[in-house]
Amino acid sequence: MSLPGDPRPEGPAHDPPEGPADDAPTPQGPAHDAPTPQGPADDARTPQGPAYDLPAPAGPAAAPPPEGPAYDLPAPQVVRDREWHRQSPKMLVIHPFRVLWSMAVPIVIAFIGINQSDGTWSVRLLPVLVIGALALGLIPWFTTHYRFTETQLQVRKGLINKSETTAPLDRVRSVDLESPPLHRVLGLARAKIGTGVDESRVELDGLAQDDAAQLREYLLLRGAGGRAGTVTGAAGQSPGSMPGAPGLPAGPGGEQPAGEQPAGEQPAGGRFDPGQPGSAGLAQEEVLAEIDWSWLRFAPFSLSSLVIVATALGVLFQFGDDFGILSQDRVEGTYEWLLAQAILALVLGGLLVLLVGWLLVSTANYVLQWWNLRLVREPGGTIRLTRGLLTTTSTTVEEARIRGVQLTEPLLLRAVGGGELTSLATGVGSGGTTKLLPPCPRRVAESVGHSVLGTGERLLDPTGDTPHDPGTGGDDRLDGPLTVSVRSHGPAAHRRLLVQSLWPTLFLTAGVAGLTWWLSWDWWIVAAVAVGAGLVNLGLAQLAYRNLGHQLTSEHIVSRSGALQRQRVVLERAGVIGWVVRQSFFQRRRGLADLLATTAAGPEVVTVSDIPLPWALALARQVNPTVVDQFRSAGEEP
């Protein structure tokens, strides 16, 4: 792979282009973990010892930290040769398919239309259409070029409207790979390369799968190298934040503990056997989660594939119309009774079909999406998710960009003890959230969430400078942010939620009363609606209150909310980039407020609603003491 005279673009990569990511005075949560990708999984490393041993006898070079080999990855051929490249020739198969697929409907319509008017034409025209589509499909292959320069990836596209996109290599933050079925058959992959906050990504289609994998690894490490100084700087201050990090059982090669040495200071020399960069990368990855097919039992309880079933159902009903079984005029005469029974049977049968259909569709969807799920922490500080049965996808998020996670428990899933885990990250597009796990047991979601955050089962520090809530102290000291009990918002919030729930009841009742008066219905209907809606709404409010709460751990803010769908959002303290305190007129009367922690990650804001005002301010103060303290009321020094 790499030659002795291998041009190494790493040089500039080690100059941190950015200073400290933030000057927030609080310790930066998972940032600690970023440069110590080995994480808590000491055991994952032991078998790989030999990988490190290989070069040891040859080069007595002082033991570099575990990242060493990672940064020394030789650049793949496509990167090194600095030439303009085309997509793989196999794309000449895929492009026309795409065009045909997207033009299928017009072609069929044209074909049928022509066929009806004049039979002979169609035979001649169809090949023309198809060939035209194929030719059209070839254009992208001829017009798309890409190349790597010393510092950039450049992609040129377009026949008439030419465009050139560039991506600075030192700023690469995410490289996602995707292989739809046709790509897989041909051994190809598509890469999407993201470089910054909220920017669109550069897409490289038609890479050979092996090249794509190498490129991904190289680009991510290169990008991480560009920022290494930043991240590692923060890491040094937190010894012991990671159970595994300081006491890494150094392999026979005798490495140093991870994260102790800024990557920028590493010798760039090739310590690693350049012949197997791939195995080097694999050697250190830590598996956070893999698919467990017993989770399949949760598939029917997640409603995310409901849309598909609803569509199928709509089609079914249309057939029902065609059969005319349900039409009114049949239900009369001597067969009336029989037909009524038939209809009953039909309805029950329909429900059964619906149920079975739902089970099948939701299970199939689960299998298709989550086949071969692997969530791993890679060297270089990235979290990588691979999954998919037909279309395989690989999503990589830089760990330092993961500012938090969210645990969602929809009603049905909660009833059977399941949950879904999502990460909140900055600059990954699509709302900044990435599903990390399928519906799975809540405990699994919690522990995987903790290991993604890098704070699993950590001891909260009740004596440190971030005193956590006295109400939940003591007993919960072994909790992580996803399991710690939340602090309820008290009677004022409870009353407010209950009173708020009366409004919809009131409007509904008024509406029904109006109708009753207008159409002179019986008045008991109004009473029934008022009582029924009132009870439902009060029940929902009660649920909402029970789910409402917040907590502050040594590194995270936790906010839980929701009535039917409960969600717990965990946001790294260092991820907070501002505060908003909102009080409506009614909230002020009750001494409550909505506290919004703004962030660049995920949905860009984490709301703690109806929290007593003093608690809100205490929370903000504990997260950003220096910033918030200066705006406190005078003379209130505790």
């Binding site: 600059g427 505060w579 908003v580 009080q583 703004t598 205490a618 950003n624 910033v627």
Partner: protein, 168 residues
């Protein structure tokens, strides 16, 4: 209650906006409310054949609303809009019935914009918008004296450019 930190309240930000803002808000309210009332009047006196009681009620409400908007609201706004910029943070407060307080550490500020509409220029006023990496985190200070706005923008730009990093 929170016993660890006996901290019941944030104080108000130190500074008010320019007092000429009252004139500006009055003018804009006059224009918009004038258009609204004029439109309603045309409908009421010209289009409607009979003067239904509810139409009269709407018109009266609109006129009362307009008077409140023009004479009272600008003074309230001036009373409740406050702002402050320190070395480390920007802090604003707005709203009368629904109060909103916003704080952003300057280290997380991404852009500082100032803008001045035509009417604002007549009153020598300018507004500042400070954005962070969060869509929910933008902070506006409306209707500063334009010289002061220029100074604040310069200061903010100077302070925030000291911090490197991408402020996320």
């Amino acid at each position: 209650m929170s016993t660890t930190t006996g901290d019941p309240a944030l104080r108000d930000p130190a500074r008010k906006v320019s007092s000429r803002a009252i004139g500006y808000w009055t003018t804009t309210a006059l224009i918009w409310e004038g258009i609204l009332v004029a439109g309603l009047s045309v409908v009421y006196f010209v289009v409607l054949p009979e003067r239904w009681w509810w139409a009269t009620a709407i018109l009266v409400l609109a006129v009362v609303g307009a008077i409140v908007e023009v004479l009272i609201v600008p003074r309230f706004k001036y009373a409740v809009h406050r702002w402050e910029v320190t070395d480390s943070a920007i802090y604003t407060r707005s709203g009368w019935l629904n109060v909103e307080q916003r704080i952003a550490p300057l280290s997380r500020v991404q852009t500082v914009d100032s803008e001045q509409g035509a009417i604002q220029r007549m009153f020598r006023l300018a507004s500042i918008t400070v954005t962070t990496a969060s869509a929910a985190g933008a902070i506006e200070i409306n209707c500063l004296d334009q010289d002061e706005a220029r100074r604040v923008v310069a200061d903010l730009t100077e302070i925030t450019s000291r911090d490197e990093g991408d402020a996320t």
